[in-house]
Symmetry: C2
Subunit: 348 residues, 2 copies
């Protein structure tokens, strides 16, 4: 692939270059890239605008050794959309700022934006602005996502009530196990110092968990399904860091406790098989792995049947009085305090 | 000053800690920090929301050797407000994301936010969200500012017409000369390797230009004054990078040319005296220095008298047909093509 130095076109040239690929699809976008600020409207006075922002730094949030730039752009955008869906709203606009290290060529930036724009296209979001800068160190990504919703449809973290069901979309721990696999293959490749031996990473039969790490999909479909069933969750959050700390946020903001059933936690077959291969505790990976971008929400217990109608949503527990604590009931009937432990080594 | 490791309270603890200082002042802020997204409203259906974003990276945009963190927070916020004023609108909400290097203590982050919150307070802006992350490398700042305006009041870069007057607020080149002075003193300090000799930077009589670099003020007062006089500029931009490239943006978006008069460019006495001391070309510093955060705008020539009523605004030239080019008329009557030359050494 040919590589063109960014200095040949400069920052303004780069913006013009990327802008050629940008299409505006939303009627609420009155002015996109090209002025001091983007200009947005709302459809009606009772609408609300949602604003969420995420910072992703090389070496902290991603490793370019195995993270293709197109996937990275896609994932960063999805992480932002996910925050808006978690408010029971739809993302409509996105700004993307990047700090570009010297080793980047125009083609790299194009790859990154190709991923961003693919994500935007799939979720009907307009890229309306951003900032580009050179970076003395690693690749820096900052995105801000705007979303819209009717005031009475917005779901906060604070509305969960005792007896509410705790629901989760998709399955958990897959992205984390994908990351473990990518890290292992990176380590094997780096140990091979003999250029005569070509080592290829072995991902056969592991495509699902790799995909969950490299190209997660924000759950617009779940928001659609909830609306179709006429369900407004009492609280909602997206699972980005670790599931336990996300449940804790809901408990904290709602002033409640919770009981999660280990046996109800949805886990994919590939995740389980990979955990076995790595000799890791599967539940720990699901509870603390993070990067799932699934939705965790609560609904009144009376909606149990309606929730069962929604494909890919599972009830994993229920909300309790605050005094009952935040508990995990294990498969063997034991009951333990849930602990946020992103820092604990998940090797069992 | 005592220094407390950030690891003692963690990311969530840090957010809670900062949040204690945050006050919500705008009725359009329905929900600030504390959920997946902030929730905003508009006062009426005909309102528009403005969104602008800026990325600032250590070593590229600022040098912590001489940039106090409180000033840095203040300046970064002002740079964002300035983009919203440049649309003839008022900033209302701000999100702040930071990547924090290991050498930062909680007290450093507090200092930074003290500057951000002071800027917010002075400009009636609510801090409504953000993200914090550790950074393997330098300090990373990304802010997104939201503003509001009536649809018919928004000023774009694209409305300038031939014969329109080109106006600029304040004066130019001061922040750039302040930067030169700070860099010189840093260099002197670093050359002193004898710990017995205490070298103090010498900023006597240079307070104004240092202040322009370290704590610029976004020109809310100019937007107020324009509204008071009933003037809606035909185009507007804020001077952040270099004045010439900002004029070029207006010419490009409006499809026009321009003629700037060297003798009309407003320059402060301290700027001129510092340029002389450094043996630098003063006009070059004013045209290409950047970091001024002044407003540059165009108005119909019929408003000449009204513009003269506004304190601290000067007419520096006029808009021409595109074919007449982008010209600088020098003091001695010569006429030259204006060139964007941020990369040219301003030492004459």
């Amino acid at each position: 692939m040919s590589r063109t130095e960014i200095s040949t076109i400069g920052e303004f040239g780069l913006i013009d270059h990327i802008n050629k690929y940008v299409k505006i699809e939303n009627e609420t976008t009155k002015k996109g890239i090209g002025d001091d600020a983007a200009v947005l409207s709302m459809k009606s006075e009772s609408d609300r605008m949602l604003v969420s922002t995420d910072l992703m730094l090389e070496g902290i949030h991603f490793d370019l050794t195995y993270f293709p730039l197109k996937h990275l752009g896609y994932k960063a955008a999805m992480a932002n959309f996910s925050d808006i869906y978690a408010m029971n709203a739809y993302p409509t606009q996105l700004t993307v700022s990047i700090g570009i290290s010297k080793r980047f060529a125009i083609e790299d930036v194009e790859e990154f934006y190709a991923g961003v724009l693919l994500a935007c296209q799939r979720h009907n979001v307009d890229l309306v602005g951003g900032d580009t800068s050179s970076s003395l160190t690693g690749f820096t990504i900052s995105m801000t996502c705007i979303g819209m919703a009717k005031e009475d449809e917005i779901t906060y973290r604070s509305g969960a009530k005792p007896t509410d069901l705790i629901c989760v979309s998709g399955n958990l721990g897959a992205a984390y196990m994908g990351l473990q696999l990518l890290e292992r293959e990176k380590s094997i490749l780096s140990q091979n110092t003999d250029p005569q031996i070509e080592v290829q990473p072995d991902f056969a039969g592991k495509e699902y968990i790799i995909g969950r790490q490299l190209k997660p999909e924000a759950r617009r479909d779940i928001i659609d399904a909830l609306k179709k069933e006429g369900i407004k969750p009492t609280s909602m959050i997206d699972i980005s860091d670790e599931m336990v700390s996300d449940v804790f946020q809901i408990c904290k903001e709602s002033g409640v406790g919770c009981r999660i059933f280990e046996e109800k936690i949805p886990i994919d077959y590939e995740t389980a098989s990979m955990a076995e291969e790595f000799n890791m505790n599967l539940t720990t990976a699901a509870l603390h792995g993070g990067d799932d971008y699934e939705l965790l929400f609560t609904v009144p217990v009376t909606l149990h049947e309606k929730i069962n109608n929604i494909k890919d949503v599972k009830v994993i527990g229920y909300i309790t009085d605050k005094e009952e604590g935040k508990m995990l009931q294990t498969r063997d009937g034991g009951c333990f305090d849930l602990k946020s432990q992103a820092w604990v080594n998940v090797n069992s």
